[in-house]
């Protein structure tokens, strides 16, 4: 049995070395944006149309 600290680890996922993604300030700002449709999911803004009204 493949064990670590007495536990079976044969079903554990294969180890992957951690990676770091370096982002510039512009790339971070770009990643943290939202559209009207995304904000509108909270259902407090207007809707575009109604399919069954």
């Amino acid at each position: 049995m493949n064990t670590a600290a007495g536990k079976d680890v044969s079903a554990a996922p294969t180890y992957e070395a951690p990676t770091i993604t370096v982002m510039s300030d512009e790339e971070v700002l770009r990643a943290f944006q939202m559209t009207a449709a995304q904000i509108g999911a909270a259902a407090v803004w207007w809707s575009a149309s109604c399919s069954a009204c």
Binding site: L29, F32, Q33, M34, V44, C53
Partner: protein, 258 residues
């Protein structure tokens, strides 16, 4: 940030800024299920849409004014922009109320929710507040206003359409001054970028908490699943004027990073 500490409230598991004062004629609710949203194009939709818009403009005024209070050490030029925004939003509110009354409605006719205020003023950094309110919410309103303008036009209501167009022109400047400040300051102080990332992550979490289940109905008896909230196209032309770059726009069109 100044010593002024806003009262906070808990709604749906998230902490938001407590409601601003409202006249007693308004019914203030906390949940989207308690708002009445009607079939687009109906007389009730016309009035409720303008009523919702009225409270949105008032909140935008209040958020800009609160930013003047909360961030007294902000650069003078930025404070001047916030002060000008207060004037713009107060004018918008008066004009929207005039349209509401012209269509037979009145302030206080429908329930209101102070969601924009609750979210934006819960963000306690200047960069985060500008990113949430101006770069995100008001930029999203630019997408909305373009569609609302077209909706009013197709309803043969050119005066209301013209009002939406005029408000949209002002919103471009509100988004632009924030974009310019954020991009310029982020170059000098990378910490601001992390404040913005945290603020937008907060908005995403709040949005997820507020999103109703598809089978639920609003106060007007309309199922949320039947209301299209995905159909707002990106207002690319006006976002360009508001200093969104081509790569910013491409990222918005591709969807959010997770």
């Amino acid at each position: 940030m100044s010593d002024t500490r806003a009262q906070m409230k808990r709604v749906l598991g998230v902490t938001l800024c407590d409601d601003p004062a409202r006249e007693t004629r308004f019914t203030v609710v906390q949940l989207p299920q308690d708002l009445g949203e009607y079939a687009p194009g109906s007389p009730e939709w016309r009035r409720e849409s303008l009523h919702r818009h009225l409270n949105t403009e008032v909140q935008s005024l209040e958020i800009a004014a609160q930013s003047l209070v909360d961030f007294p050490a902000a650069p003078w030029g930025l404070r001047l922009q916030h002060a000008r925004q207060c004037w713009d939003e107060s004018r918008h509110a008066r004009l929207v109320e005039r349209e509401l009354v012209a269509k037979g409605g009145f302030a206080g006719e429908f329930p209101i929710i102070n969601y924009d205020w609750g979210v934006a003023c819960a963000v306690k950094t200047l960069a985060g507040r500008l990113a949430v309110q101006n770069r995100t919410v008001e930029a999203g309103e630019m997408d909305l206003l373009l569609q609302l303008r077209d909706s009013w036009e197709s309803s043969a209501e050119p005066e209301t359409a013209a009002l939406m167009d005029g408000i949209l022109a002002d919103e471009i400047q509100h988004v632009r001054f924030a974009n310019q400040w954020i991009k310029s300051e982020a170059k000098k102080n990378p910490r601001l970028v992390m404040e913005i990332a945290a603020a937008i992550s907060f908005v995403r979490a709040v949005t997820a908490s507020f999103t109703p289940a598809s089978g639920e109905q609003n106060r007007a008896g309309v199922r949320f699943a039947d209301l299209d909230r995905e159909g707002f196209a990106l207002n690319v032309e006006d976002r360009r004027l508001a200093d969104f770059g081509e790569e910013d726009l491409a990222a918005l069109q591709a969807g959010p990073a997770r």
